[in-house]
């Protein structure tokens, strides 16, 4: 075994066990509650407003590398695409990474199929921009004068460009990321945001299946254990005892 990863492996094993136990408990009891996320309500409001105004809504994942944030974004995109299909509102998706294009097409197509509106889907509205994502995104927002602007994923400075471009048209804006360096900007500029883990919890709230509930409860429980460990560890180190610290670093 590699050095310094024993506790990490233990945490991973505990995480997986907690995941399955939580999913099974939900399967038996059906009990799950999460606070209402303002971001989901704002998404619906934005799409409703876009429908009234006859304008499209815009979606982007940002320019960050492909990671699990995209997976959370897919669930929220499916929700937004479903609402757009239901209300016959255009959804324009700007994409920077080529490998995300086929996945996005599948997610959007699935949402339209579920609403029985597959013939309304416009494949050319899923747009791959590559390295020119940012200017192309600003251009799209400006030309189409979007009524709603959503950006969920691994966000960098492009979130500011998107926020300011869409603010000129008073678009309702919802963004979400785990990238802490962008959170202040999106918090300041958007109508609602998903902070880190909220993106994943929102997915479970949309469709509370055992798997999604398990993947929300497991991080919650492990986080609680971490908080206790941090408090105990801080007290122990303050008193000059580094046993816990040494144990965790193994």
């Amino acid at each position: 075994m590699n050095q310094g990863v024993t506790v990490q492996l233990l945490v991973l094993a505990t995480f997986i066990a907690t995941f399955y136990i939580s999913a099974n408990i939900y399967r038996k009891t059906g009990e799950f509650s999460a606070r209402k996320f303002e971001g989901l309500a704002k998404m619906e409001e934005a799409i409703g407003r876009a429908t009234e105004m006859g304008k499209p809504v815009h979606w982007s994942y940002g320019m960050g590398a492909f990671d699990a944030q995209y997976l959370a974004a897919f669930v929220l995109l499916e929700y937004a695409a479903g609402l757009c299909a239901k209300y016959d509102t255009r959804l324009i998706v700007s994409i920077a990474l080529p490998e995300v294009v086929p996945m996005t097409e599948e997610v959007v197509r699935k949402a339209y199929i579920e609403q029985g509106k597959v013939e309304s889907m416009q494949p050319e509205d899923v747009r791959f921009w590559g390295g020119s994502h940012n200017p192309a995104m600003i251009g799209t927002i400006s030309r189409e004068q979007v009524a709603g602007n959503f950006m969920i994923g691994s966000l960098f400075h492009e979130s500011i460009l998107s926020i300011e471009a869409a603010a000129r048209y008073n678009a309702i804006q919802v963004m979400g990321t785990s990238n802490t360096h962008q959170l202040p900007f999106i918090a300041a500029g958007c109508d609602a945001i998903f902070i880190g883990a909220e993106m994943f919890a929102a997915a479970a709230q949309l469709d509370a299946t055992p798997v999604r509930v398990g993947s929300v409860r497991a991080p919650d429980l492990i986080t609680s254990v971490f908080v206790v460990l941090m408090v105990v560890g801080a007290l122990m180190v303050t008193m000059g005892n580094t046993t816990l610290k040494t144990l965790i670093m193994r």
């Binding site: 590699n2 995480f15 699990a68 944030q69 294009v101 921009w129 460009l161 880190g196 993947s215 497991a218």
Partner: protein, 208 residues
């Protein structure tokens, strides 16, 4: 067809992820070599995806030209540039003199100009953010002022300002950011696990 579209990607994802994760925990040289090789394949796969993306771009802009949309001229410029870069790149590779010239003297200045516009966007974003509309905006404004007071002439007139700014940065900001990082990281693990073991297949056009 269903197997190729939905089941095979799950199997490939599971096997690939298992090898990459296992070599992180266990010291098995053969697995490390295999993991490094898989990561190299990732670049090749992305190149295939790039071809799909280019196909999408051509389809979008060709459609605009065909129906004589108001932006057809820009679409034509995009397609001509795409074809030109592609032709030069294929003829000389990306290390060729002409390709480097095109990249260094056309693409890079245009990209830098685009990036530089962030300054103006940040300025207008700051103006909108610092208008005190509610208690959250007030906290943001006060924190921003405290951070700004630590630099230049402000610090000379108010020597305590850098210490206050350092406290804001090191204590409340770090605490909040670490909470987000820990919560976000664990959720990322949960989400990734769902995909790796094939419990989540939304991105493949299927459900759970």
């Amino acid at each position: 067809m269903t197997f190729i579209k939905t089941k095979l990607p799950v199997v490939v994802t599971f096997v690939g992820a298992f090898i990459i994760i296992a070599q992180y925990y266990f010291d098995i040289p053969a697995w490390k070599t295999l993991a490094a090789e898989l990561l190299r394949w990732n670049v090749i796969l992305a190149a295939f995806a790039l071809a799909l993306g280019i196909g999408g771009i051509v389809k979008l802009h060709w459609g605009r030209i065909a129906r004589r949309a108001p932006t057809a001229l820009y679409s034509a410029a995009t397609l001509i540039t795409l074809a030109f870069f592609l032709a030069i790149g294929l003829a000389q590779t990306t290390r060729g003199e002409s390709y480097r010239w095109l990249y260094d003297y056309i693409y890079l200045p245009v990209a830098a100009t685009s990036y530089a516009t962030t300054f103006f966007f940040i300025t207008s974003a700051a103006y909108r953010a610092f208008r005190i509309k509610n208690s959250y905006a007030a906290v943001l404004m006060v924190s921003a002022v405290l951070m700004m007071l630590q630099i230049g002439i402000f610090a000379a007139f108010l020597p305590i300002a850098p210490r206050i700014a350092a406290w804001v940065w090191n204590i409340p900001t770090s605490a909040g950011m670490r909470a987000v990082v820990i919560g976000g990281a664990l959720s990322l693990v949960g989400n990734s696990f769902r995909v790796i073991v094939g419990l989540e297949r939304g991105h493949l056009g299927g459900g759970e």
